[in-house]
């Protein structure tokens, strides 16, 4: 299909505001008479709450003070369920639970006051590890500490062990990871019984916040309004926690009668908000002598923290991605999300898949080694083909050629020559080099029937001067929503991107196009934008005001005439689930995703054997993502995702002490700087997907899945260490190197 605007690197729509410093983030906004708000937390992992004392030399009568008893509606942050309190009442179940909220106009005095609140806490025995949780050392959630479990079965795993030439096992662990968006979280609220509740803030999912506030205040939906301000990065970290901060700001505003702003500082943001779920995966794999996979038994556990929040959904995606892009006749995946007395873990780009993909891709290198095949040959003999079935029994109906992606990635990275060269050179060197890869897939959109339940909506309206406004709740947080939507609408309407206006997400104004998560915005919502734009065009053509082949000026004239004659020129589109996608939620099988992105990533590393420090020297990312809508933005998504994956693999180590993050600062939680990253070379293959706008598939989360295992495999190649854990800090690598020599 010939395209005019799609496939072009149209400049970022809000780029000018961002490079001039004019873009308005939540902390840049003030209201007259505004108060600041802060949060008092229990700081005990598990305790009964006693008396609360307001001490010190503080003029307490000037302060607005909120506790659980000030909540007008239900004390729970609504998500899947409402088990997480907005303000702890009676008990705390993790150290960062909010107990008291304070507001005052002087933020310096406010900080002193926060320290002068003393909460009596009577400790209860906590649990901190997945093992303790599974052993029910203490039951801290439900009847068994299990938020959710899944069982995926394909074929008959049990029969395969006896006939296999080899059975290979391994256990793999990944740590928690902080999203570390550079803009800390924040919200401003106005609230009164007369006007209802309005919040402005940094967030990914306006209607999640809307739902949470509706239940918290017990108000009708039209009395709650949520407005997204310019958002300085999210990566999943602003999917759920903004509901908590919005709730806190709104409660303070409700009680004080004044606007209240809460901005977290970095330490509070890192400690209290969600992080990537720590995981442990056990693999048991049966293979034939010539490298055909016979059976995969996978046991996957994630640590959900103290409340359920999104853990069941994260677990679901991790489970479905656990067996990768391979054709294996017999698969069993058991998985569970368990409770510990840590702050709830949550969404982070990749959403469970980076954890289980790390385990699988690391394990397959070990399987290859055990049976004497090269890592690439083992995978080549098992890559899924069109017409074959994935672990969840989804028949792959799209064109897929992972082997071709692998060949291209190897050619671009010089994989074969380097592998040989490094093997020859490493023996006598204190700097050892290695090259490794991972092959993987990532499903776009909500899992299974998720999109059907979401039933997303998008609207469009034309103005008298020929501009077309797109109304959706999908947020721009840096990934390019504004630009992509304007390209899709402009392409469809044969207009220029600057004739498209993307309306600021505001639940008082835009329909619910669903959360901005799950690599669904371009593919799922973008398709609705395309349909909404087409309907506007068809109305004009059907009214004979416009003929195909029109110019933008003719469009403007036709829109003006239409509006004068017939009133508003608008359209409203609701998601229709493709009829050929079927999902069985009971047996957890079927068409898990409408489309997958496929990829092979190659990492080249060097390891200083004296310090056990690893460095990435080169990185090649080859992926098939359907039609690329904007090459600069798409490459930017992959490069940024790979950088986060490098952090996940090497640097980003959360130190836990009694359920608290002990290194909640940028000085001791290390993300990659400009000095740490290799060239990240990004290549796209484009096989258009019929269900996406102009053939696009989802892209945002993909790069997190394959980066860490490619690096781990490269370090294993360089050093001979059996890498089973990330992050591979020098301390951990030393441990693993010592194990080799022991």
């Amino acid at each position: 299909m010939e395209t005019r605007i799609i496939g072009k690197s149209v400049p970022r729509k809000e780029g000018r505001e961002k490079v001039t410093g004019r873009a308005r983030y939540v902390d840049d906004i003030t209201f007259p008479g505004m108060l600041h708000g802060v949060t008092v937390r229990g700081q005990a992992p598990r305790a009964r709450i006693g008396a609360i004392h307001f001490e010190g030399d503080i003029p307490w009568n000037e302060f607005t003070i909120v506790t659980a008893k000030d909540i007008p509606g239900k004390n729970g942050i609504a998500l899947l369920i409402e088990d997480q309190p907005c303000l702890a009442a009676g008990f705390v179940n993790h150290p960062e639970e909010a107990i008291v909220l304070l507001a005052h106009h002087d933020k310096y005095l406010l900080e002193e006051a926060r320290r002068a609140v003393r909460v009596e806490l009577d400790p209860l025995p906590p649990i901190f590890t997945m093992e303790e949780s599974l052993a029910r050392k203490q039951v801290i959630w439900g009847s068994d500490n299990i938020f959710k479990s899944f069982l995926v079965e394909k074929g008959n795993v049990d029969a395969a062990w006896l006939t296999a030439d080899y059975v290979i096992e391994g256990t793999f662990e990944t740590g928690a990871q902080e999203q570390l968006y550079i803009e800390p979280q924040g919200m401003i609220a106005r609230a009164s019984a007369q006007d209802g509740v309005t919040v402005w803030g940094s967030l990914q999912c306006p209607y999640y916040v809307h739902k949470a506030l509706t239940i918290l205040f017990g108000l009708p939906k039209d009395r709650i309004r949520v407005v997204q301000t310019e958002t300085g990065g999210g990566f999943g970290g602003k999917e759920e926690y903004p509901s908590m901060i919005a709730a806190h700001a709104a409660l303070l505003a409700w009680k004080s009668g004044k606007p209240v702003k809460i901005i977290y500082d970095r330490a509070e943001d890192m400690a209290a908000t969600t992080k990537r779920h720590p995981s442990r995966t056990h693999h048991r794999t049966a293979v034939t002598r010539d490298g055909k996979l016979l059976a995969m038994e996978i046991d996957f556990t994630i640590d959900g923290g103290a409340y359920e929040t999104l853990s069941p959904v994260v677990l679901s995606r991790g489970t479905i991605h656990a067996a990768g892009p391979y054709n294996c006749p017999n698969v069993r995946i058991r998985s569970r999300a368990v409770a510990t007395n840590a702050p709830p873990h949550g969404a982070f780009r990749g959403f469970g898949a980076p954890q289980s993909v790390f385990a699988l891709e690391r394990h397959l290198d070990r399987v290859a080694k055990a049976i004497g095949l090269s890592p690439e040959e083992l995978r080549r003999r098992n890559f899924i083909q069109e017409g074959q079935t994935l672990a969840v029994s989804q028949v792959v109906r799209e064109k897929v050629d992972v082997a071709r992606l692998m060949d291209r990635a190897f050619e671009l990275s010089g994989y074969h020559a380097k592998r040989k060269l490094f093997d020859a050179q490493n023996r006598d060197s204190s700097i050892r080099k290695g090259i490794g890869f991972a092959s993987f897939l990532h499903g776009a959109g909500f899992t299974g029937s998720g999109e059907e339940y979401l039933a997303s909506e998008v609207a469009a309206e034309a103005t008298r001067d020929g501009q077309v406004r797109i109304l959706a709740a999908s947020t721009e947080m840096g990934q390019g929503t504004n630009t992509i939507f304007s390209q899709i609408a402009a392409e469809t309407l044969a207009l220029n991107p600057d004739q498209i206006e993307i309306v600021q997400p505001d639940t008082g104004n835009v329909p619910n196009s669903g959360p901005t998560v799950a690599s669904r915005t371009s593919m799922i919502v973008g398709k609705l934008v395309e349909s909404a734009a087409r309907e506007i065009q068809q109305k004009l053509i059907q009214s004979s005001l416009l003929q195909p082949g029109y110019s933008p000026m003719e469009f403007a004239e036709a829109a003006r005439q239409f509006i004068e004659r017939s009133g508003p020129l608008n359209s409203f589109i609701k998601y229709q689930h493709p009829r050929d996608l079927h999902w069985d939620d009971e047996r957890y099988r079927g068409d898990a995703y409408g489309a997958y992105a496929w990829a092979v990533y190659v990492a080249e590393v060097s390891v200083d054997m004296r310090t056990a420090e690893a460095r990435i020297e080169d990185f090649v990312a080859v992926q098939e993502v359907g039609k690329v809508i904007n090459p600069v933005l798409a490459a930017g998504q992959i490069e940024g995702g790979v950088a986060q994956g490098i952090g996940f693999a090497l640097y980003e180590n959360i130190v836990w002490q009694e359920g608290r993050m002990a290194n909640g600062q940028m000085t001791n939680y290390i993300m990659p700087t400009s000095m740490d990253l290799p060239p990240i070379r990004v290549f796209f293959e484009e096989i258009p997907y019929g269900g996406g706008p102009a053939g696009a598939k989802g892209i945002g989360e993909l790069p997190l899945d394959g980066t860490a295992p490619a690096i781990a495999n490269a370090i294993a190649h360089a050093t001979g260490a059996d890498i089973t854990r990330i992050p591979i800090t020098p301390e951990i690598l030393l441990e693993m190197l010592e194990a080799v020599h022991a």
């Binding site: 030399d57 503080i58 550079i182 310019e230 990065g233 840096g478 930017g636 600062q665 400009s674």
Partner: protein, 163 residues
């Protein structure tokens, strides 16, 4: 009520304009710029000098304004992101960030652009290593820095063409 320090008068130049204001001597320059002067383009990312989102130029040197006490501003010339463009005419670095994808979420962008402008003032034709080093004090979580490097290279190219 806790005893508080007294505000002191401070005179300096911000984006070419003389400024007289009162601030607590140990107030952070970041807060003075944002709250007293409404220059909200300067961002707070960490408050401890790690991320560079609050970077401004002070007498030509790049500083993290979250670590600079207000009293240090006395008599200095300060440039913030609001002073980088010439009216509506963007600086070449700003233009290059738009066309080459150097800005995603935008929160690190003001500090990053000041770091890049400051680098190019010192090294008009920087090597790849100089670009990496010049931007090493500014963290970006979105881009993996690749498009930022490309933007800086493009800005040099535009400047050379203009010469």
């Amino acid at each position: 009520m806790p005893e508080r320090a007294r505000k002191i008068p401070i005179r300096c130049e911000v984006n070419g304009q003389p400024v007289a204001l009162e601030a607590y001597p140990m107030a952070r320059l970041l807060d003075v710029l944002r709250e007293e002067l409404a220059l909200t383009g300067t961002k707070e990312g960490c408050g401890e000098g790690e991320c560079g989102a609050c970077a401004v130029e002070m007498d030509g040197a790049l500083v993290n304004s979250c670590l600079v006490p207000a009293l240090h501003a006395e008599g200095t010339k300060i440039r913030t992101i609001e002073g980088v463009a010439n009216g509506d005419c963007l600086h070449t670095v700003q233009q290059a960030f738009i066309t080459h994808g150097g800005s995603q979420c935008g929160i690190c962008t003001p500090g990053m652009i000041l770091a890049a402008v400051n680098l190019l003032a010192r090294h008009p034709r920087p090597t790849a290593a100089q670009i990496r080093e010049g931007l090493a004090g500014n963290l970006c979580r979105c881009t993996g820095y690749i498009k930022i490097f490309e933007s800086v290279v493009e800005a040099c190219r535009i400047s050379e063409r203009a010469e």
